[in-house]
Subunit: 237 residues, 2 copies
């Protein structure tokens, strides 16, 4: 009988070996460990390696051996710490989504004028993804493979942005006549589209417009201002 590290069992093992009462503690441990990047423990090395491999190759394309090699450890260690490929994947996915959403959510709920809020959301959205450019495709991909498994974890993330409130803000500005009257859902999807899609389509874009790595970086930097002014311009009454 092998004893697995506690930190793993709480969230992921569903309490079939460790009784559920431990869950909150281990869950908290888990989050804190994965947030503080300073410690370079084996677990953290594994998570980082797994993130890299999963992001590039997707779930089914990623090999446990690749992750082990990337982390510079034995393959059995992966299972020692995270039991199975699925569990390890969940770990990486949950952490990545959490990071992205919490950052955007902060601006989303901040107390700002609509114009500043739109600029802020666009800037932090593009900025966040620029730091983690493979994340969107990764998320879209895995959601399409098995929607039900993923979506709960995504939408029910504690840091999920408060959309309802933002839509109310839009509506009131339309009533005021400050902005043009448009379908708020169509608008929000458009903003997200313009922020996210360039990263998803990056290699294709580079080929079509024949731009290299630095030019792409510049394109992204300029894009924050472009999308902001484009959206605000489209919303002029």
């Amino acid at each position: 009988m092998v004893i697995y590290p506690i930190r793993c069992d709480g969230i992921l093992f569903g309490g079939f070996e460790i009784i559920p009462i431990f869950e909150p503690l281990t869950k908290w441990l888990n989050i804190s460990v994965s947030i503080m990047q300073t410690t370079n423990t084996t677990e953290q090395q594994i998570i980082e390696a797994a993130r890299k491999i999963f992001m590039h190759k997707g779930f089914s394309g990623a090999r446990m051996q690749d992750i082990a090699d990337e982390a510079g450890i034995n393959k059995a260690m992966l299972h020692y710490y995270y039991r199975s490929k699925d569990k390890l994947f969940d770990m990486v996915f949950t952490e990545a989504v959490g990071k992205l959403l919490s950052r955007v959510s902060a601006v989303f709920t901040a107390d700002l004028l609509l114009e500043d809020k739109i600029q802020g959301v666009i800037g932090s959205y593009i900025g966040s993804i620029a730091e983690n450019p493979y994340l969107p495709l990764f998320i879209m991909n895995e959601i399409n493979q098995d929607p039900d498994r993923i979506i709960d974890r995504f939408v029910n993330t504690p840091s999920f942005p408060n959309i309802q409130e933002f839509m109310m803000l839009l509506k009131s500005e339309m009533d005021n006549g400050t902005i043009r009257r448009v379908d708020p859902i169509q608008l929000m999807i458009s903003v997200v589209s313009m922020c996210v899609f360039p990263f998803v389509a990056k290699p294709l874009m580079q080929a079509v417009f024949k731009i290299g790595e630095p030019a792409f970086a510049q394109f992204i930097e300029e894009r924050k201002a472009f999308v902001s002014s484009f959206v605000l311009s489209a919303l002029r009454p």
Copy 2:
């Protein structure tokens, strides 16, 4: 020594078994066969099954057995007709990309006023993808996995839209003052983003906004008009 059907060898086997002089004929055969859906030959059944499975699961997620089952035939038949998983994939990919691009390209090069052209491109782009909703994610995905392998086939497709010409048109309208001055590349990426992204993000969107299948279809239908007016609105001087 097994004799493989000619139609496969021309394009894909790179002439190491069949001499290159046959290529144009077989290529032409290939295209015509895959376009006319009327015939329900085994090869066509295979392609359709492969498209379905590849689109849903991606290259590494797709299993040859799944494709065989979907086509209702023996697994060995796949190899009999298309030699290997890679070759079969290339077949599906090339056909799918060709279909999409040729349709968009037609509107792209048509002789229309800018406003009509923008509306037309948006309409045909969204319409095309609505008929093949898994295509964008599929393309993005495979391009990210192995950019070099895919991109040539994509950009050098004979039906690839004439971007240069369109950019000139934009520039002249900006000089006229008919539309606001913006970076044409940023603009084009934005338009494509707004057309494509909703399909890529469909399951997530449905979860976040709690909309079902019919509501999503309606959203897409409305989106043609929304994106058109949104873009034209943003371009007002």
